[in-house]
């Protein structure tokens, strides 16, 4: 009896693996699609549209809220400090000769402060984007209540399918993909350096990432493939999750850059290093900006080496905006190939909230979503212009990526996820305000001749060179998956 059960188990395991092997892994390795995922996405879209209509119909009966998160919660004035305070003072009883302090100036700061308490541009970027309509995943259910029996049944079916059918399938695929990466790269590493070796290494990497993409049911649309990054360049992209690497490496081969890890990551890193050169740093080396820049420069100087993949934001952002690009990668020269990645949140939330989930639970959440659907745009290559400094260049690239991906272009530092904002920004605000009230003091003191001539620093406001001090000693421009960094504060 026991043997019978054992045989049955072995048989089902064999069947399972041969199905996976034949129908998924082999086509994936050849870059061929059987169209199953496409069909799945089409069916899913129909179901979600139906669910949306049902929910909207249900909501019409109750006076519940209409969610429009993208346009913000409150009306904000766009004027500068000078304009807004000027408007406040317009009704002030006596005329002021340009400047001077009035008690109503505080209203400006007060209103700005309260506005930022109700809705600010930065903190919302570190949590998942809110959906306009529910996509039948419990995890995205913020404001949607019980609507009808049918929606609940579909949701229940969805849970069953996602957890019992799709998740085991995907986990198996991921396992196969990663093992293949380790085995394949080790085998290729045994060969002597030659063109054949690079070709084989590319094949191994591509096939592995394709299997991993299937493991996420990823549907990726690549646009403008003529701008694909070339050897000897630096590929720069906005960062949402570790999956970005799989998404990009599905279509081309890149050299990775990051910190050396132990454990499973370390094994992957070492085997990848065997088949083609990547840039891995020891923890101590990371602190030395110049050493890092030198290694990067050496790598891109060699035109036989693959383009380096860098995420200049330095941390994961929730794919609604692009935050400040750290200037390190833009200083070394070379051609920058910008890439914009935009995920469709309807099918699964790709953002890794590292404060809330560790890597393993994040990957499990990915594998129990409906699918990952995203668009990748390759932008035309950019180089630093004559007389342009690295910060300005970085901002230029950032704007191009934000514009293409339909993301908000922010100057705020992604590091604000964990760190406090620098005092310097507050000092800028204070300086701006001081300029407004100081200029008439010159007139007044010459009239009354009471106070000595002003000796406060009344200089023109410097353009914010804040980025320089952001990277002080530690090298943060290279995003590396250091499990210690992305740990709960």
């Amino acid at each position: 009896m026991m043997e019978g059960a054992w045989d049955l188990l072995l048989l089902s395991v064999k069947v399972w693996f041969s199905i996976i092997g034949g129908l998924i892994v082999l086509p994936a390795m050849c870059g061929v699609s059987l169209g199953v995922t496409g069909l799945y996405i089409k069916i899913l879209v129909k179901i979600l549209e139906w669910a949306t209509l049902r929910i909207q119909r249900g909501q019409k009966d109750q006076p519940t809220l209409q969610l429009q998160p993208s346009s913000g919660i409150i009306q904000k004035d766009d004027g500068s400090m000078e304009e807004e305070i000027g408007k406040l003072r317009r009704s002030w009883p006596k005329s002021l000769a340009g400047g001077d302090f009035t008690l109503c100036d505080a209203f400006y700061f007060c209103k700005k402060g309260i506005e930022s308490i109700v809705d600010d541009q930065v903190t919302q970027r570190f949590t998942s984007e809110e959906l306009v309509s529910w996509n039948l995943l419990t995890r995205t259910n913020n404001n949607f209540h019980y609507i009808s029996v049918r929606v609940t049944i579909i949701w229940g079916l969805g849970v069953a399918i996602r957890y019992c059918v799709l998740a085991p399938l995907r986990i198996t695929l991921a396992f196969i993909g990663l093992s293949w990466l380790v085995i394949g790269t080790t085998l290729v590493g045994l060969l002597p350096n030659s063109r054949a070796k690079s070709w084989l290494s590319d094949r191994v990497h591509l096939t592995c990432y394709r299997i991993c993409a299937r493991a996420l049911s990823a549907t990726i649309h690549y646009h403008n493939k003529e701008n694909q990054p070339r050897k000897g360049g630096i590929c720069v992209a906005n960062h949402t999750s570790p999956i970005d690497i799989v998404i990009l490496a599905n279509d081309g081969c890149y050299a990775m850059i990051g910190q050396v890890h132990g454990g499973l990551m370390g094994v992957l890193q070492r085997s990848m290093q065997r088949s083609c050169p990547h840039i891995w740093f020891e923890r101590s080396e990371m602190k030395d900006r110049h050493a890092v820049a030198r290694r990067l420069r050496d790598h891109i100087a060699d035109k036989n080496k693959l383009p380096v993949l860098i995420f200049p934001e330095g941390t994961c952002i929730n794919n609604t905006s692009v935050m400040m690009f750290k200037k390190g990668s833009f200083e070394v020269g070379g051609t920058i190939y910008p890439v914009a990645i935009k995920y469709d949140p309807q099918f699964g939330d790709a953002f890794w909230n590292s404060a809330k989930y560790n890597m393993v639970s994040y990957l499990l959440r990915m594998m129990t979503s409906w699918a990952i659907v995203c668009n990748v745009w390759y932008l035309p290559p950019m180089t630093r212009q004559e007389g342009e400094d690295a910060v300005h260049f970085a901002n230029r690239v950032k704007s191009a990526i934000a514009h293409q991906g339909g993301l908000v272009d922010l100057s705020w530092d992604g590091g604000l996820k964990r760190e406090k904002v620098k005092e310097m920004y507050k000092e800028e605000q204070q300086k701006m305000y001081s300029n407004m009230i100081a200029c008439s003091e010159d007139n007044l003191s010459s009239q009354t001749s009471r106070a000595p001539p002003p000796h406060g620093p009344v200089q023109p406001v410097q353009p914010p060179s804040a980025h320089d001090t952001v990277i002080k000693g530690s090298v943060r421009f290279i995003h590396s998956y250091t499990f210690d960094e992305d740990v709960k504060p």
Binding site: I74, S91, C110, S116, K426, Q430, G456
Partner: protein, 192 residues
């Protein structure tokens, strides 16, 4: 969970709820919840300081202080809404009336009182020269000298002070700001 608290909220009949519509309360509660990193149903001063745009505001600390009643370190959702209710636009309809006959929180006078308290550090209902200097120092940082700041403070008090006690009382504050469009400038409009 989030929806439980909302059920409780709907059941209560507090004054603050008269100032916001149902959807606005839900939005504010989401916001409160996202700021509440400790997940204990109350915000501390650190929770507010985590908002970068507020942290760089020269009067940020004074604004944060306005949320916390005397001597307390935590503000719950009710207190949060109560403070924000001051910034509701002044409208003619009855929605913004309080349950008793007292003035609504978002009246012109109460908005002015909110601003007055930004200056009145020790809450003794008078803005002294020292307090004005301290708040001015917050707003200008290191960019203006002590003497200059002192003369600005003196001039401001001179303009507003009518009873000669070298400080600004609330009624003097109201008088000197009577022409300023407080209703517009101290109001936050929701989009929905």
């Amino acid at each position: 969970p989030l929806w439980c608290d909302k059920v409780l909220l709907r059941a209560s009949r507090r004054v603050e709820i008269a100032y916001f519509s149902h959807s606005q309360i839900t939005r504010l509660y989401s916001r409160f919840h996202s700021l509440d990193k400790g997940e204990n149903g109350a915000l501390s001063r650190e929770d507010f300081q985590r908002i970068p745009e507020l942290a760089i505001n020269p009067l940020g600390d004074r604004i944060i202080n306005a949320f916390f009643p005397e001597g307390e370190d935590q503000v719950n959702f009710r207190g949060f809404m109560r403070t924000l209710a001051h910034f509701r636009p002044v409208e003619d309809n009855e929605k913004s009336k309080g349950h008793d006959a007292s003035e609504p929180l978002n009246s012109r006078n109460n908005k002015l009182l909110f601003a007055f308290r930004l200056y009145d550090l020790d809450r003794d209902d008078k803005i002294s020269r020292d307090e004005l200097l301290q708040v001015l120092r917050m707003m200008v940082g290191v960019n203006i000298s002590d003497e200059q700041l002192g003369s600005i403070a003196d001039r401001t008090i001179q303009e507003a002070d009518t009873n000669g006690d070298m400080s600004i009382s609330f009624s003097e504050f109201i008088k000197v700001l009577e022409k300023v469009d407080v209703e517009q400038k101290m109001s936050i409009r929701f989009l929905h």
